[in-house]
Subunit: 458 residues, 2 copies
Amino acid sequence: MLSDVATRLAEIVGEQQVLTGDQISADYAGDEALTVPGQQPRFLARPGTAEEVAALLVAAAEHGVPVTARGSGTGLSGAARPRPDGLLVSFERMNAVLEVDTENHVAVVQPGVTLSELDARTAEAGLNYTVYPGEMSASVGGNVGANAGGMRAVKYGVTRHNVLGLQAALPTGELIRTGGKLTKISTGYDLTQLVIGSEGTLALATEVIVKLYPRPAHGVTVLAPFEDLNQVLAVVPRIISSGLAPHILEYIDNLTMAAMTYAADLRLGVPDEVRDASGAYLVVGLENRTAALLDGDVELLGTLLGDLGAAEVYVLEGNAARTLIEAREKAFWTAKSIGADDVIDVVVPRSEMAEFLASTRELALKAESGVLGCGHAGDGNVHLAVFQKDPDKRRALLHEIFAEGMAVGGAISGEHGIGNAKRDHFVELEDPAKLELLRRIKQAFDPAGILNPGVLLD
Amino acid sequence: MLSDVATRLAEIVGEQQVLTGDQISADYAGDEALTVPGQQPRFLARPGTAEEVAALLVAAAEHGVPVTARGSGTGLSGAARPRPDGLLVSFERMNAVLEVDTENHVAVVQPGVTLSELDARTAEAGLNYTVYPGEMSASVGGNVGANAGGMRAVKYGVTRHNVLGLQAALPTGELIRTGGKLTKISTGYDLTQLVIGSEGTLALATEVIVKLYPRPAHGVTVLAPFEDLNQVLAVVPRIISSGLAPHILEYIDNLTMAAMTYAADLRLGVPDEVRDASGAYLVVGLENRTAALLDGDVELLGTLLGDLGAAEVYVLEGNAARTLIEAREKAFWTAKSIGADDVIDVVVPRSEMAEFLASTRELALKAESGVLGCGHAGDGNVHLAVFQKDPDKRRALLHEIFAEGMAVGGAISGEHGIGNAKRDHFVELEDPAKLELLRRIKQAFDPAGILNPGVLLD
């Protein structure tokens, strides 16, 4: 039986590209989710073409083998954790930038391409794929699955807003094309948007058309310490209303800043007395097409921040700016290194952030746990490191935090996704009528239920 | 039987809000689609609340009555044309702006609110809902149904990119909430995006959360005549790469310009000799937060346009600018007034516009028909007025134009939708695997098939 399936898979992708059992490296057992233990799949296949992906799905359906897709394995929800009886489809060989199109301002890529490769290729053309989820080794296909976000979402949106079209393999074996090199299209249900964020449960992207922006020639990072987090958060709508259109707008609490600067050996030039009086920081990224225009923007921002209570305004350029942003992007690793037991990314309306963060601190205190964090102040996406070793207590605390986020109009995840890690919470907390509808949509795509069963829905 | 149903509807929305037969004004028989003849519905109901909308759907399902939703009836696809045996749900009473939220930069509105009302209310707060499909009496709910676009899509995207959440009534009777006052969310399939553009076939929006931007204080419209259309279209990617981020980027061919200026009694200050030597025009809208910054942008644009072959560069301000943009927005009415038999809005990759337009002229010539137009040069959305009185010949020509658009990577409609008017073309030209998937998604939402049957799919 096992060898029957393996033989069939080998017929599709070639013998070299199918591994089984112990041949499969432990790296394939999961992603970076802290609470989802790794799981070796029964089969690993590494297709080289879209047609091979589609044929793999047909074979899997025939043999009743569940299928999990894998990009770079950098996800934080456990959506790339395979099933013990399952087939892991790794997109590592489908990693080409097929086209950087300077007339339509798009790139066409295979799903296994990394953000870092795409960044290098678009830079050559003076263009920019603006989704930076903080991990440049992530794959575009993985980002499509999770609807990945990142810091620049405040200006440019998330993956959803920057993917214009897909080629995708349906679990029923057809290859379809959705969208195109088009920013507008009004011809039926938007299948592109439906596949984005579906965590490998509806269809597997085999080609992705992404939107590119001109790469701004000049950029700067501004750091402003404030007395407390509420002050930081109150400043955010004022900056957005100013029309400055920052591409980064982050808050960092002082404990997280301490851990980040320590881990990155980062010298920001903040004097001890300012640092000691500061409860939280605002980080603002600005960019413009000329140095003079950028100077004007920085001046306006400085005045605004001063008026709104910033203790100081530090304009970071070159290395210090890059290091701060990189340290912020690596906040997950920092949290992991200081012993966080989980990292979550609840999203709430911007106006609810201060109150929501106060609630989480109270909930954590009551549960004898710790939470600290940083997050995307511009879009209400709160990244929390949770410290609680006991899995039951942690589970109960997370449930309360998620419920609180939803109660103020938010959602369990802004950009990490549900995956395996948060599925039970999602199913318990989401409106049953919506869950039922999601299940019927899943059924419409995947009548045999072979794509990533257990992820997102039970 | 008829009175049974009417009685049931009256129990839900009140007797005053149900009309039948001849009581129903002819205004309700359709929208502005030129080729979809009006059709009186059997019942008209005017609900006042989301709960009433949901109850109407339950009643309709019980009695097997097809349901069509109507906003302002300004659509161009015939999606609001009711069925002779059907119930028309008019959202005219659900027309309130519930909230303009200056902290989260969103507005919460009922579906029947007009763009004009929303524009006035957001202006008071210095904010802007940036979807301007060219008809300010259109309703937000109707725009959601069609995924309406408009000129500013080149900078701000279309309805899809500016709706963050919905309350919607499912045809199975439940009210659900999707999204929220959130620009990012990664918790399952995106139901907001699925309902947007579904032309009333999946669910009826009963509340809409839209994204608002700061309203730029300063704006200007630049008009540049060129020798021919190919020159105009070649300029477009250069302007986008410049980083100027225009919010309007339109082309107008010289015949359309003649009709527009005549219809609007518009004086643009273009001397006769320039006008006579110009085959097409580029219209660029720029905006910025200060007059000085805007001046700098205009200077850069002027240089760029001069270098790229513009015969002249006219900077229109105040009344002339407003009148030109309004005339362009009214291009549909101009086409109608000069006897166009249909107006279509194929979208193609920007780089394919010149060739696609040449093909359409050839196809029209062969079919002894006329086409002329204008369109969104920034996003490849080609608006064509088609002149051919014979319905069979016109149908055959449209089929060829649509097929040609799809062959170069485009789609039948960029922003008008499929509706009744283009359904047969859509079903004939679209990939059968995708159509099958659309039908299964429809089935997942609407097992009884009561929502707008015959629209989009057969």
